[in-house]
């Protein structure tokens, strides 16, 4: 699967309160969550992000709470992929479980800048900067998680197990 999109760059330790502040957690409506995505980090983000855009961030992306509302907000805001230097562990699990593509790649996270256009080959785990040329290789998913992703997320995977 190939994703081509515009980059939105954030820093290190982007926590779940920045991704979706707790004041909006009184709903599970994906589109309402999406309308507040990244609000406390960049107020204009939710209004300007386009389907297919890519979030790029530094280390420890998604640290903080276990709220699945965070990857849900990002996914439903139209973001096609998150690339970060590293991810907090619960966010990582949650993203896989709900089918939000994420890639851990320090070099790409450092090189890509806001406004760049990037091309991502999810299967190969490669990231190409089309604006100021450079190609980067991400850590691929462990095979165990590939199975969950191939099943279309954890719920489908469990359905198969129970069938």
């Amino acid at each position: 699967m190939i994703i081509t999109g515009r980059v939105w760059k954030f820093g290190n330790d982007v926590d779940t309160d920045l991704i979706i502040p707790a004041r909006y957690l009184n709903t599970t409506d994906p589109l309402e969550l999406a309308s507040h995505c990244m609000e406390d980090a960049d107020k204009s983000f939710a209004g300007r992000v386009q389907p297919g855009d890519i979030i790029v961030a530094g280390r420890n992306f998604g640290c903080g709470s276990s709220r699945e509302h965070a990857p849900v907000a990002i996914k439903n805001a139209g973001v096609a992929c998150v690339i970060a230097g590293s991810f907090a562990r619960i966010f990582y699990r949650n993203a896989v479980n709900i089918g939000l593509p994420i890639l851990e790649c320090e070099a790409a996270a450092a090189a890509l800048q806001s406004g760049d256009t990037a091309e991502i080959d999810l299967t190969a785990g490669s990231v190409k900067n089309l604006t100021s040329p450079g190609t980067y290789q991400a850590i691929p998913f462990p095979s165990f998680m590939q199975q969950i992703i191939e099943a279309g997320g954890l719920i489908n995977y469990v359905k198969q197990r129970l069938a």
Partner: protein, 422 residues
């Protein structure tokens, strides 16, 4: 090569003789937990499976603690979703207003989580229960839904880091100070994906409450779990509470650790973490004089009886500064009742505090004490992220109950001995 306590619990629950860090294992779950924020999404996902029952109605725990008593219509609707689910699926351990407490205060108190358990909770501070010698970790709602269905969850066996606290604690130093100090040394991702094991003379001397506080904040260093090997204190705490038999585990003497950090407890002052990360911890002396607008004593980190006793001991016969609001939130109904019997609540109210029914409330900027722009709070909670307690332009400082109570009296961040010696 031996195994750490974390590895032993995972091996046992995966029906394996041994496991090694990095391996993916599928484990039986002794308990699954969700709250009023994460359960609605978990219920939604669980219903997609079309199942007629959860794996064990006695082992699913649902606690309505974040936005309760319902702060608005939407929160009420969310609780309703969970309440209906609990009825339909015969969930035994459903805790609503009047019975509920902050989940991580409630579960140990009620004897629902026990030494040697392997459990998940759709709340990042599920790592709290490691203080009893359990493997407990936070997950999201979808993992929780799968856990409710199968009674299983996959884990990557974490590498273990050992933290040894030698010597004796100084006065006014407790579990909160030790963990803030530790996170200050290793950083907010210093233990990412790893187990944090706490040992040493000073940990042995800590109460179970103090250990719960420490393990609670393991996630603030990025850890998968925190753990304290069970000792007599653990077993004494669990005795009379446990609702089922349990098997405690101990690590092997030749277990492998990816890192060992040794600290002299006697060198550690009460700590304060500056905005906006828990790793910004410094000795309270370096924070002295910072004026604050609100003090919050409560949360799953420091809302237990011992915390309230420490705070009341300082506030007794004194008044909170009229420049700030002091909010005290006992962690559970039982803590509330006991604090009432001991006269602690009276001390708080006489000192000018607002005392609330148990709730997460202001800890996550939910309700019961939201900050305006430009305001500063000192809280015994666990996160001081941007906007955590309200306006994105407000600030939160983290500390233990002694510093919080002392600061409430003076109106600025204060070492407890400054107030008590007066």
């Amino acid at each position: 090569m031996g195994m750490t306590i974390t590895e032993k619990i995972l091996a046992d629950h995966a029906d394996r003789g041994r496991v090694a860090p990095g391996e993916l294992v599928n484990c039986r779950l002794d308990l699954v937990l969700a709250n009023d924020i994460t359960a609605p999404m978990a219920v939604q996902e669980f219903r997609k499976l079309g199942l007629k029952k959860v794996y064990d109605p006695g082992r699913v725990v649902l606690v309505m603690d974040h936005f309760t008593p319902n702060k608005d219509i939407k929160s009420a609707e969310q609780c309703l979703t969970v309440r209906e689910f609990a009825r339909e699926f015969g969930i035994v351990n459903y805790f609503d207003v009047g019975a509920m407490g902050i989940e991580h205060c409630l579960l140990p108190e009620q004897g629902l989580v026990l030494p040697g358990d392997c459990m998940i909770g759709a709340d990042s501070h599920t790592c709290t229960y490691g203080a009893l010698g359990a493997f407990a970790t936070g997950v999201g709602s979808t993992d929780l839904a799968a856990g409710m269905a199968l009674g299983e969850c996959w884990f990557k066996v974490p590498e273990s880091m050992k933290f040894v606290f030698h010597g004796q604690l100084r006065p006014w130093v407790g579990g909160k100070d030790l963990i803030l100090y530790t996170i200050g040394r290793i950083g907010v991702e210093g233990a990412r994906y790893r187990a944090m094991e706490f040992t040493g003379e000073a940990i042995g001397a800590l109460s179970v409450e103090g250990r719960l506080t420490m393990c609670n904040m393991a996630v603030e260093a990025g850890a998968k779990n925190g753990i304290v090997p069970p000792d007599e204190k653990t077993h004494a705490y669990v005795a009379g509470r446990a609702r089922r038999p349990y098997q405690a585990f101990a690590g092997d003497p030749d277990a492998a650790y990816i890192a060992v950090h040794e600290y002299e407890a006697g060198q550690i002052e009460p700590q304060v973490a500056f905005p906006h990360l828990p790793e910004n911890s410094r000795p309270v002396s370096e924070a002295a004089g910072i004026a604050i607008d609100q003090v919050v004593i409560g949360s799953c980190t420091n809302g237990r009886l011992e915390d309230l006793r420490i705070a009341a001991g300082i506030l007794e016969g004194r008044k909170a500064s009229n420049k700030l609001r002091l909010i005290v939130i006992p962690g559970t109904q039982e803590i509330y009742l006991q604090a009432m019997r001991e006269g602690l609540l009276e001390t708080f109210v006489e000192a000018g505090a607002a005392v609330s029914t148990p709730t997460c409330g202001p800890c996550l900027g939910g309700h019961m004490g939201i900050l305006a722009h430009g305001e500063k709070a000192l809280a015994t909670t666990n996160r001081n992220f941007v906007g955590r307690m309200g306006s994105p332009e407000s600030e939160v400082y983290l500390a233990g109950p002694a510093v919080a109570a002392a600061s409430a009296i003076t109106g600025f961040i204060t070492h407890p001995e400054e107030v008590v010696k007066q």
